[in-house]
Amino acid sequence: MNLSSFLLMRQEIALLLIILLLVIAEIFIPKRRKVSIVHLSVFLFGIHAIVGFFEIDESTLFGGMFRSNNLIHFFKNVLNIGVLILLLQSADWIEEKIVNQNKGSEFFILLFSSLLGIYFMISAGDFLMFYLGLELSTLPVTALAAYETMKRISSESGIKLILSSALASGVSLFGISMLYATTGSIYFSEIVQALTSTNLTLLGMVLLFAGISFKISLVPFHFWTADVYEGAPISIASYLSVISKGAAVFILMIILFTVLKPLAPIWENMIYTIAIATMFIGNLFALRQQNMKRFLAFSSIAQAGFILLGLIEGSQLGTATVVYFVLIYIFSNLAAFGVVQAISLQTGKERIKDYEGLYRTNPNLSLVLMLALFSLAGIPPVAGFFGKFFLFTAAASKGFFLLVFLAVVNVTISLYYYLLVVRAMFLRKGDNPIPFFRNKVYMRIGLVITVLGILLLGIYSPLYDYIYDLSSALN
């Protein structure tokens, strides 16, 4: 092992350097010019996201604890793009509300630390690295959820998030200890060779699955989701629902498809039940929401249920469809959260009722939100349709026709409540509509990128073929 083998961790090292640079910048930039730290962070992270696209070797480090291949590398790039869009969308909020409390640079340091944890989590080659990555990705976000220390609901959402995630990690640790007891190793590659279907292994698998399900907010582990999303700052809610959830789906997929492959007939049943429960409960609870953030929270629970349709396939097709769907989901959900954030920043309004008549005053914003909701619902010309279509194909190829039928029923239910918002924006004339406002440059760039993603990703078919080729690395 020589120094150049550390190039495998290039993304992690670069991000760590950015974090350290921000710490130094926080010390040396004088107090009245703290705004420049926002521009600095966006600029540095933009460079990091672009440099990330250069190729990386397929290899392992530290005796197999850290590994990287093209699929993992591609997924890290997807997450980079998501975080970059999120930074662009939240830059104005930080400039106006956070910097004057003198907490600007901590926001970026904590956010990047969480992303670093996600990197380590998805390239983990053993359960220790997985656990450390999971914790490093969760703890900074809980601090960020309680970031608006003057607001009561922010602290409430922080305490709810940290207690739930601590319970989740405790439960999954207990499960890992059982897998360790039956197989004698914590390395993924050694566990898969020694794994047999005993009762203790199954209990371990169920507990581990429950722990990761907390992160993805699958039913019945979803209770924290709506409260945390409502109380936390909007950019953190969107980070939790997009980046954190996408990464947790990815690592769950790696663990199910590689480590727990011998138990596939058993976890198929488990996922089958949980997928149905998640889709129905997410959709039915979304119907009665009045607050836009709670509404998006339940919609993201329902989307997690759809993702399970790809996971149940259990091989290359499933991997490709899940990664493709997560890529599209990142763009669609970030667009929706971006519009909510823009309106909340300008007017402080977050209820669906306040959106009545939005089209007359702010036609561009309402068009972006409409495209995002159509993509989340899966209406043909936009990208979300193709993502859902491939997921359903994956489940149908294994013969789960009843599950696909129930999923289609759920798409119809979800269409109803997404269209409720669209109706409020376009057809209703509100008594007190949101006045016209212009977004700043960062927010506008962020929204334009998401719209381009929603419109083009579905039509550009080589992308799916590319992901499908990469997916062979996992199986």
Partner: protein, 105 residues
């Protein structure tokens, strides 16, 4: 390895500890008590790792070093949770669960 004590007895105790923790997490109405319950769950896993390593796979130290990392991370987790609880206490002068229900359904 403790003479006269088999692995079954210790694993039974850690399982009981784990479920006491889960029960406490669900039923307690004080945030600090909930935090203590979470610590019980984490410590049950720590003991599990050490015992399994010592009794079943003594040739490598994977379980032992895993448990050290768990203890360190658990300390960080507790510190963060307590700091958020203190911040909440400053605003509502209470650490009861029934006071933090402004967001519901």
């Amino acid at each position: 390895m403790i003479p006269g004590v088999s692995i079954y007895e210790i694993l039974t105790i850690t399982s009981i500890l784990f479920f006491i923790g889960v029960y406490g997490f669900i039923t307690r109405t004080n945030l600090i008590s909930i935090l203590i319950s979470v610590e019980l769950i984490l410590n049950a896993s720590v003991v599990n790792f050490v015992i399994i390593n010592k009794y079943l796979f003594p040739e490598a130290l994977q379980g032992v070093y895993f448990s050290i990392f768990i203890i360190a991370v658990a300390a960080a987790e507790t510190a963060l949770a307590v700091s958020i609880i203190i911040n909440l206490y400053r605003q509502i002068s209470s650490v009861e669960v029934k006071e933090i229900e402004t967001m519901k359904y």
